[in-house]
């Protein structure tokens, strides 16, 4: 099953490589990874999506917790949560396709953030499945370049991941 694990870790050099290294060292999967500082500049928040059965996920969370730089973590998929990813896509926008892409972008509530006579650059946010669906709707022929941020997430309601 797919899990989204959010980690608060020391904003120190080397901390990220310890987390990433752990995944390859122990043969765990990384589907996406996203990391940035938080409002507390001594902490970074890292969100990783991974796939594994319960035993593997248990090991992943335990091994992550064992890293000295990891302060706290939560498996967001254990409860209600909000998952978002941002994607920028360059698509070929010529002839009839130009209008069609605009319409598709509207349906997905995406924005066109840059244009040239032959290209639209589309910005879209949503969960990973929505982004996949958008790419499918555009079709592989029209897609010139894709940049995705990887999943970030936060728990719903009053659950807070902080010190």
């Amino acid at each position: 099953m797919r899990h989204i694990i959010s980690i608060l870790m020391e904003n120190e050099p080397g901390a990220l490589s310890r987390v990433v290294g752990l995944f390859s060292q122990r043969n765990f999967n990384i589907e996406s990874l996203n990391v940035a500082p938080t409002e507390d500049e001594s902490l970074s928040r890292l969100t990783v999506t991974t796939v594994g059965d319960d035993r593997v996920i248990e090991q992943i969370t335990k091994q992550l917790n064992k890293l000295i730089d990891v302060v706290k973590l939560v498996d967001l998929t254990e409860g209600d949560h909000i998952e978002r990813e941002l994607m920028l896509v360059k698509v070929k926008a010529l002839g009839a396709a130009r209008d069609e892409i605009k319409r598709t972008a509207d349906i997905f509530r995406a924005q066109i953030v840059d244009i040239t006579p032959s290209i639209y650059t589309v910005q879209i946010t949503g969960d990973a499945a929505k982004l996949d669906a958008f790419l499918q709707a555009i079709g592989p022929v029209g897609i010139l370049e894709v940049a995705r941020t990887g999943v970030s997430g936060i728990a719903r309601s009053d659950k807070i991941l902080s010190l």
Binding site: G14, Q59, N65
Partner: protein, 574 residues
């Protein structure tokens, strides 16, 4: 207030931390530190002949003393040479602090002379690592390093120190930090009482219980408590290779050690048990054999200080995360005034176990006949007798390691010192050096083979320099015995590169360093050689014993089988 350079802070901190010996090798990036060590007398530096030996020596000391070992190396090759020793310590959870010189900070990343990203190289084999970014951080960083290395589940910590952090002319305030605060690290101090109660209930109701205890009991200083607990209950106990000595092996409740080359009765008891009480052991593959066939009828209690060890390979019925010592003590107090529910069935269980013991009695190996090559097992037994089973024993890796573990009997913890997790050939001799330096009045014996010994034999020179008198027992079968055994069993005796031709004349080699060397080829010579070897505790003696090259280590678990599936000799199996 005291102003010290970074280099002087390091020397001073080690003194304040109570460190007597450090093992290392100088080099450009570490020279300020070496100069600081030179200008003081409290911390004594032992100059090894290869950095790997420094880590093994510090490791041996740490395992024997239960305190962190300290290593000092320079950048680049100095640090990379230490890597095998760091990995060895990591796999066996040995507390160790490795101080590495590094090129000047402004050169980092430029592929400077003798630059290696040692933090990156060692990342998967350390408990944690630090890079010093300002000289004033040194006391705090070192304190954290020692705290991390020795608390919780111990392990090696690397501290990378760029040369400009130790510049003699730049001085900063030095205060020895007495406390450490790390918001992201708080090792568990006790187990969950509810879980411990559940475990005790299972223990009281058990019909065929067995304790299975590991290195965690020794590391956690819980051997006394364990002995008390096991004796109160009257249950059988088997230990892992790393747990040898946590419970006296001469006691009748001890079945020896378990796993791939463990005793017949240990493996049989595990397989037939209805309750396995695992403490400070990690269910590794050399113990469990095929996990899907592991202990099919047992409920499992697993006590470990490291949550990630619990349910990693075998899912316990009662997991308890906590230090062995406090959990055991809590178990003992919960047992006060309680009786086991099935005393008669425990008696029956012991009858079954004694039956297994009896089955193999006198059949473990065939002693040599007069005129035949000595059996390695006989040599280990002779050494055990000659030292009253009281020596510190280190080993290298291979057949001799298993024979040493099988035939030397240990009644105390911290005495059997072996690379169990990583299986590092070359470990034994430098580890013995590190122990002897801190326990000069004890016999320190290194069982080795001519393969392993040649991986670290340059340390003879270190022993000469510091007058370190260890006893090296070379079980010389002229081949890489364990590799050869596997080739006999799995490759139709095609001995690909498991032979040792062109062996040196060990008498001449050892003689070149001015040490005593004795060559033994027959059983008749053995006893006298033993007396000579152990005549003086402080004398280095190399005992080169020609042993039967065809001997195999048995029992040996059958691959992919259960614990009870064993080869018992070249012709018998369960």
């Amino acid at each position: 207030m005291e102003l010290l350079s970074g280099a002087d802070m390091i020397a001073r901190f080690l003194k304040d931390e109570g460190i007597e010996y450090i093992y290392g090798y100088p080099g450009g990036a570490a020279l300020h530190i070496y100069d600081a060590l030179f200008r003081q007398e409290d911390v004594k530096h032992i100059l090894v002949r290869h950095e790997q030996a420094a880590t093994h020596a510090a490791d041996g000391y740490a395992r024997a003393a239960g305190k962190p070992g300290v290593v000092m190396v320079t950048s680049g090759p100095g640090a990379t040479n230490a890597v095998t020793g760091i990995a060895t310590a990591y796999m066996d959870s040995v507390p160790m602090v490795v101080l590495c010189g590094q090129v000047m900070s402004h050169l980092i990343g430029d592929d400077a002379f003798q630059e290696t990203d040692i933090i990156g190289v060692t990342r998967p084999i350390v408990k944690h690592s630090f890079s010093v970014r300002h000289p004033s951080e040194i006391p705090e960083v070192l304190k954290k390093a020692f705290y991390l290395a020795s608390s919780g589940r111990p392990g090696p910590v690397v501290v990378d120190i760029p040369k400009d952090m130790t510049t003699p002319t730049e001085r900063y305030e030095y205060v020895y930090p007495t406390k450490v605060k790390m918001r992201s690290y708080s090792p568990v101090s006790r187990g969950h009482t509810g879980q411990i109660k559940k475990a005790v209930e299972l223990m009281l109701k058990a019909r065929r219980p067995v304790f299975y205890t590991g290195g965690g009991v020794i590391l956690g200083g819980a051997s006394e408590g364990l002995t008390d607990l096991v004796q109160r209950l009257g249950f059988p106990i088997t230990t892992t290779l790393m747990g040898i000595g946590a419970y006296p092996q001469s006691d009748k409740q001890c079945l020896g050690w378990l796993g791939m080359h463990g005793s017949y009765e240990s493996n049989m008891a595990m397989h037939h048990a209805d309750l396995v009480i695992a403490i400070g052991a990690r269910f590794d593959d050399r113990v469990t054999n095929n996990t899907s066939k592991f202990c099919p009828t047992a409920k499992i209690v697993h006590v470990d200080i490291d949550p990630s060890s619990v349910a990693k390979t075998v899912r316990p019925d009662v997991p308890i995360v906590g230090p062995a010592k406090s959990v055991i003590n809590e178990m003992i107090s919960l047992l006060q005034g309680k009786e086991i529910a099935n005393p008669n069935e425990l008696v029956e269980w012991w009858k079954t176990i004694d039956g297994w013991r009896h089955e193999r009695e006198g059949k473990l190996y065939e002693p040599s006949a007069p005129g035949e090559a000595l059996k390695p097992q006989e040599v280990v037994e002779a050494v055990c007798r000659a030292t009253n089973g009281e020596a510190f024993v280190t080993t290298d890796v291979g057949q001799h390691q298993m024979f040493a573990a099988q035939y030397y009997k240990f009644d105390k913890p911290n005495r059997f010192i072996t690379s169990g997790g990583l299986g590092t050939m070359g470990f034994g001799f430098p580890a013995a050096m590190g122990i002897k330096k801190s326990f000069p009045d004890d016999n320190v014996v290194c069982f080795t083979g001519e393969g392993s010994f040649q991986m670290m034999m340059q340390e003879l020179s270190t022993c000469k320099q510091y007058g370190i008198g260890v006893k090296i027992i070379n079980l010389n079968n002229g081949s890489l015995g364990m590799v050869r055994q596997w080739q006999d069993l799995n490759y139709k005796s095609r001995h690909a590169h498991s032979y040792m031709e062109s062996l040196p004349d060990f008498n001449m080699l050892i003689g070149a360093y001015g040490f005593t060397s004795i060559r033994v080829t027959t059983r008749e010579e053995l006893e006298e050689a033993m007396q000579r070897t152990f005549a003086d505790k402080h004398e280095m003696v190399f005992l080169d014993v020609a042993v039967d090259p065809h001997e195999h280590v048995y029992p040996m678990q059958v691959p992919l089988g259960s614990m009870r599936d064993m080869l018992l000799s070249k012709t018998e199996r369960t």
